[in-house]
Amino acid sequence: MVSDLSILYILKNVYTMFPPIIKDALVYANCVTLMSIGFTLVYLISRIPNFAQSTFAVLGVYCTFSIVRLLHINPYIAMPLGFVLGALLAVLVYLGVVNPLLKYGAGPILLTISLLAIQQIFVSGVQIYADYVRNVLGVYSRGFMLRVNDFRVGEFPGVLIVSTVIIVAAIVAMHLMLTRTQFGIAMRATVENAPLAAVLGINIRMVSLVSWVLTGGLAGLAGTFLPLWFSSGPGSGGMLSTSIFAASVVGGLSSIYGAILGSYLISLLEVWGSYLLMTQFGLWIGAYRMLIPLTLMSIVLMYEPGGMVTIIESLRARLSAPKRYREGAST
């Protein structure tokens, strides 16, 4: 019947068939993107991989947990709180540990070890908080999932909508800051050549501090979304970390746009790939899903250590060059 094929009918069909795996993939990708932007930013400016990144996310996770389970109010109030707490923690880490170590002339290895130590300290702190909440307040505090506390717009969970809006806003704000403001240009100058930027009067310490504020804040923000869709606990930062590293490395660790591209690629492939493998071979294979980003990262490092940024740039150069250069390149 013709009336059955009306636009409304098709829309309704698509609407109900919207597979839950896409929601999984998108929420996961949004969280990973927020975190790998920060990871890449700190790597660009200070040249150290920030292994404490996932810790800031755990802080965000427990912000949402406390607000929903202990105070019983709307989970989205945790968003600004997570951002501020993550940023404060990052400032503490930068001023207390990273900056003094850089002043003493410590190399990237010493900084890495100290960041791992910081991760250990903060994760243990969160564990103590979780223990306290369970033993003293009597609220179950590990492996919680707060999907029921989220609002829904039809088929779409609130966290998907809010995190997508936040991601778009963050990317636009980041782009505008880096291209239109004085400070963003100073930031880019520091990335290109830090000593030269310092000679020109750019306050490198301020630039680093802002990069740490952004990385901590964005990771804390990403953490507040996690328990609204996934089962979370003190270990959920470690669960994310492989994806973050893989996303940043595949993105190229040389530009923020690369990190965005890399993290969508990695997390969609991870969720979709594990879903496809699970339908093919059985549910047991889902436990090994962190091997997918790891394998992709290894392949990229072996064949193109520059990541997506290098690949895209070489493609662009090849396409935009006049034809005679393209053919004569090998001779």
């Binding site: 190399g107 100290s114 130590a117 243990s124 702190g125 033993n135 490395v249 392949i299 490092l301 072996m302």
Partner: protein, 371 residues
């Protein structure tokens, strides 16, 4: 406190000291001498443990033909008990099984070390760290989820290959572990004070100039990682035989990567003496905490292990900030065939660091333990 408790405490202390010393010395050889930041060392320990857990019981069951109709994983403790009865009368089988497992573990973990270091061994430190941390996590995840390997989140029993020692078993196994550790110590010490040791230090200090004088930097680094991964796995094997079980949840990053790093940062980078000292200090400290844990647990509303981890983390941060070279710093390398008496004063006048004059005439023991 009874005599038995003190004895058990001392045996435990020595045992963990020896096990961690193997890991720390290998880590020191990789980072301190060659400059490879191996942040996934737990994967080699786990590799050794998996070899013990997966192979020992199965092979012995096949050899003795114990309960062939039962499922190996589900009836694990029953089968292991029966194997232990056989092993208690069969010293030859016990020893040959032990040596066989060590050889298999060396071979498998050398291969594993090659595979995990392959993607990033030619890149700079940060990439290598990222890949190795990921790889260690992957090995742990496989052990946790692949039930037939070492029992997933449960554990698998390891037959007691030294059951024939009877009452002397605890001390006997301690002596065997000490011999293995001494062997590894002597091997690494000999390697680090030979021309090879100078070459790997050159690779650490300046890879570009090492390559300029004709050294294959990537090849040397790969060989060092392969060798040290194989040697580290012995710690995993001995650990499995010591506790008579393999537990995949015990190979965490904190326990087998972070603590060994802390130990040799405390002791001093780039010399085996420092690694030994650091390991001893750290292990004594931890054993004391574990011993008094239950006394503290009464007063706080959380598990004491988190407090312990915070303490350890803060300790590491303080060491990195205020004494990055460790308790026993590395000494400049000494070259054979150079007349130090002659150059000593001349170099010292120019403010160049030189080994002390005494270095020329050392006893055999001093030569063995030199830094």
């Amino acid at each position: 406190m009874t005599y038995d408790l003190i004895f058990q405490w001392i045996v435990d202390l020595l045992m963990f000291f020896l096990l961690y010393l193997i890991v720390t010395m290998n880590l020191n050889f990789m980072y301190g001498y060659t400059g490879i930041p191996h942040f996934g060392i737990s994967l080699s320990v786990a590799g050794g443990g998996y070899v013990v857990g997966a192979l020992t019981g199965r092979i012995l069951r096949w050899l003795y033909n114990v309960y062939p109709q039962l499922d190996f994983m589900y009836e694990n403790s029953k089968i292991t008990d029966e194997i232990n009865v056989h092993l208690a009368r069969d010293p030859f089988m016990g020893i040959s099984m032990f040596l066989f497992i060590i050889v298999v573990s060396l071979a498998l973990n050398a291969g594993l070390g090659y595979i995990v270091s392959r993607p990033a061994i030619r890149l700079s430190g940060s990439y290598l760290i990222i890949v190795l941390i990921g790889m260690a996590e992957a090995i742990r995840v496989i052990g946790l989820n692949y039930y037939p390997l070492v029992g997933g989140t449960f554990w698998i029993h390891v037959p007691d290959v030294f059951g024939w020692m009877g009452d002397f078993r605890t001390e006997g196994f301690l002596i065997i572990c000490a011999l293995f550790t001494l062997g590894i110590f002597l091997l690494l010490q000999a390697m680090s004070t030979s021309p090879l040791g100078r070459m790997i230090r050159a690779v650490r200090e300046n890879p570009v100039s090492a390559e300029c004088v004709g050294k294959d930097v990537v090849g040397i680094r790969t060989k060092v990682v392969v060798l040290c991964s194989a040697l580290t796995s012995i710690a995993g094997v001995l650990y499995g035989f010591y506790i008579h079980a393999v537990l995949s949840t015990s190979y965490t990053r904190a326990a087998w990567t972070f603590y060994p790093w802390l130990m040799f940062m405390v002791g001093g980078i780039g010399n085996n003496m420092g690694a030994t000292l650091g390991t001893f200090i750290f292990i004594s400290f931890r054993r004391l905490i574990i011993f008094y844990k239950h006394n503290i647990e009464v007063y706080v509303p959380f598990q004491v292990q988190w407090l312990e981890q915070i303490l350890i983390g803060v300790m590491l941060l303080l060491i990195i900030m205020f004494r990055p070279q460790g308790l026993l710093p590395e000494r400049p390398t000494k070259m054979r065939g150079l007349d130090y008496e002659k150059f000593h004063d001349e170099l010292e006048n120019k403010d160049v660091k030189v080994p002390s004059k005494r270095a020329a005439k050392k006893t055999i023991l001093e030569r063995l333990l030199r830094r």
